[in-house]
């Protein structure tokens, strides 16, 4: 039993840390704290830098361009990215569609799509949820009908993250309505520029445009863009869910969040002391840190099991539930810490001149971030669904 990382892993951590220090673009540092949002170019610029280094796809097999890291190294890498508060590497291409393509795709599909995902040339989005199919994803109704060597796709997807930037999307569609729901679904890769696709923004509680509705009307998709066999799409979807889960708990990002929260609470005054000296607030911070330690060591236990060659189990549901609860709690306490200055809304209405910070800069995004982070216990399989998975798969209930 040993708590420490090996000297090789420690050296690896140093290497990663140095690379980030020396290469992370200056103009992206602290951007979110100043009330701005990540642009498409922001995401891509860091993607390309990591791509050139060969580090953008940590979990990919080396034959497709992965770095050949161990599970521990991948963990360290994601921890260092979070520590430095970098713009995230979006999962849709690198860690969602690519593993499906290299696991189930044809040699032609691999050659065509994987290099462009690695380089950042293609931006991917995920066409899963529908207005009537959220938690009950298998009830999806967007249908694809064969017409010669094409599918003709009709239907509506929703909550499609950053589809406004997307070149390609991977879609679950119904190809057979006569069988059990899960057995009539196929996995299609669709060029987002195909005629018949309309992307409409959905504005969320923090005023963000992160998600979209995607309407598909007689969209013609070449049959060669189907991954895996017809009606085997649910296999791809399930594989994707159980696949790469490193970082799902968001431990490192939460550590960073708590550091910022501590700094805010040390700055905010509560009478003749700082807020962090208020026993009520201090107690809540302490509980949060304890919860995070429990999450971290649960994740490390999983990591150690994985490193010892054991297959990943349903503990990813535990990591998702507890990880998102902690992320939400951090934003809740941050909003509480900033007091009155949680109320000013940093986005002016329309052309209002509300461009300069009201109150301290760290208060600027406290409310919108609290609102926005409510999504984390809803998306990616809601926390109710995740508890259902544990009840069924782990407890056997």
């Amino acid at each position: 039993m040993d708590l420490s990382f090996s000297p090789e892993d420690a050296a690896f951590r140093e290497e990663v840390r140095r690379f980030i220090d020396e290469n992370y673009p200056e103009n992206l540092k602290g951007k979110l704290d100043e009330g701005e949002e990540w642009s498409k170019e922001d995401y891509l610029s860091w993607h390309r830098i990591l791509g050139r280094k060969g580090w953008v796809a940590p979990a990919w097999p080396t034959e497709y361009g992965g770095p050949g890291w161990s599970a521990t190294q991948r963990y360290i890498f994601s921890e260092e990215l979070a520590r430095a508060d970098t713009v995230p590497i979006l999962p849709f291409g690198i860690s969602m569609v690519a593993p499906v393509i290299y696991t189930f795709g044809t040699p032609e599909q691999k050659a065509r799509f994987l290099p462009r995902i690695l380089s950042g040339e293609d931006w991917w989005c995920q066409g899963y949820s529908e207005p009537g199919a959220g938690s009950d994803l298998a009830s999806l109704r967007t249908k694809a009908e064969r017409d010669g060597d094409h599918y003709v796709v009709n239907g509506q997807k929703t909550w499609t993250t950053l589809a406004q930037h997307a070149d390609w999307g991977f879609f679950l569609v119904r190809t057979d309505a006569s069988v059990k729901a899960q057995e009539g679904i196929s996995f299609l890769l669709i060029d987002m520029k195909t005629p018949g696709i309309t992307v409409r923004p959905i504005i969320t509680l923090g005023g963000e445009h992160e998600v979209n509705e995607v309407w598909l009307e007689n969209v013609r998709v070449p049959v060669e863009n189907r991954v895996h066999e017809e009606n085997k799409g649910w296999t791809c979807a399930k594989f994707l869910l159980a696949h790469e889960r490193t970082g799902i708990a968001g431990v490192a990002r939460s550590k960073r969040g708590i550091e910022k929260l501590r700094a805010i609470a040390a700055t905010e005054l509560d009478g003749d002391r700082s807020l962090i000296e208020n026993p009520f607030f201090k107690r809540k911070l302490a509980e949060l840190e304890i919860d995070l330690a429990a999450l971290e060591f649960t994740e490390l236990r999983g990591l150690a099991a994985l490193a010892a060659g054991k297959p990943p189990g349903a503990e990813s549901s535990l990591l998702k539930i507890k990880g998102t609860e902690i992320q939400q709690r951090i934003t809740e306490l941050t909003l509480e810490a900033v007091g009155h200055y949680g109320a000013p809304w940093f986005r002016g209405f329309g052309d209002s001149d509300n461009e300069h910070a009201i109150g301290p800069e760290y208060a600027l995004r406290a409310a919108p971030t609290y609102f926005n982070m409510r999504k984390t216990s809803i998306y990616g399989g809601s926390n109710e669904i995740q508890r259902g998975i544990i009840a069924k798969m782990v407890l056997g209930l």
Binding site: I203, L335, H340, A343, P344, F371
Partner: protein
Amino acid sequence: MDFSYTETQTMVRDTLARFLADRYDHETRMKISRGDGWSPDIWKAFAEELGILAAPFAESLGGLGGGAVENMIVMEELGKALVLEPYLSTVVIGGGFARETGRTDLVESIIAGGVTTAFAWAEPKGRFDPANITTSAKRSGSGWTLSGHKAVVRDAPFASHLIVTARTGGGQREQAGVSLFLIENGAKGVVRRDYPTADGGRASEVYFENAEVPGEALLGETDGAFPLVSRIIDEATTALCAEAVGVLRELHRQTQDYAQQRKQFGQPISKFQVLQHRMVDMFMEAEQAASMALMATLKLPDPAAVSMAKAKIGKGLTLSGQEAIQIHGGMGMTDELAIGHYFKRATMIESQFGNTDWHLQRYEALAFGEAA
């Protein structure tokens, strides 16, 4: 014991509810929010068609002979419709100060709808303590000169007058040495930065840059206004608790409606026991909030009861707001649905006039005899 409303009280509630259903639906509310942040037409209707601006005042002041119960009734209805107009700032707070200082003229102007007030009490470094004041007022000739910065003054962008706490003596956190001023908004030396708030209202940072105000701007006693300030803040907090009841009832109602319509796995999601229990919790929070708002109202001016109510309701607001979004799922995250706006208002009420922790600590100090 009798908690039933009088005929007049029932009429006030029903007329207001009907008016808001007809003239203040969610779409209208959002239009007002994105426009000027309040509607002078609605305010005029409150004054002239409904007469609710007169509800909590004695007949001798030109009112309908009501008091805190009337404020409670009105505020709960305003909470249900997320009304943006400044009833709390003007009628409860401005009217409260006017009543207590014998300013019949001011009460009359408020009832008529001509005067609206915003209450400038909080300061950037004062957190929730109304005695933590650095804004100063110094005598100059027959008047006063004010200097300082007031934080997040709700409704200040459009109010006709500001009510300002300032230090005429004493140290930064002392209760002695606090005075109160009624100042015309836009007076010379009063500088505002206006902005929208997270719950769709309006507020300002207000800076007094050697603002010269006349002697008659003083409300109440020089140096001795703190007990009055504290009392009116308690009345305001109690009214805010009643608004919270309206918000909590709507969070529950709208969530239950949605859950009964939304089908997944072949049935309405309201059939899942795990969600049923959580909606029951939301219902219980609303009921307990109604009880606490009533208790605080009937016990005014008991500060311990006010802090008990605000602390209890603050927790309920957090729980119900979060559950409402969670049970709505993705739809709850959209700006388009009303539920998100109830969640935002619930979140803001939690910290208005002191958050849950602040009122818990205040209650502890009052109930266990610690120094506050």
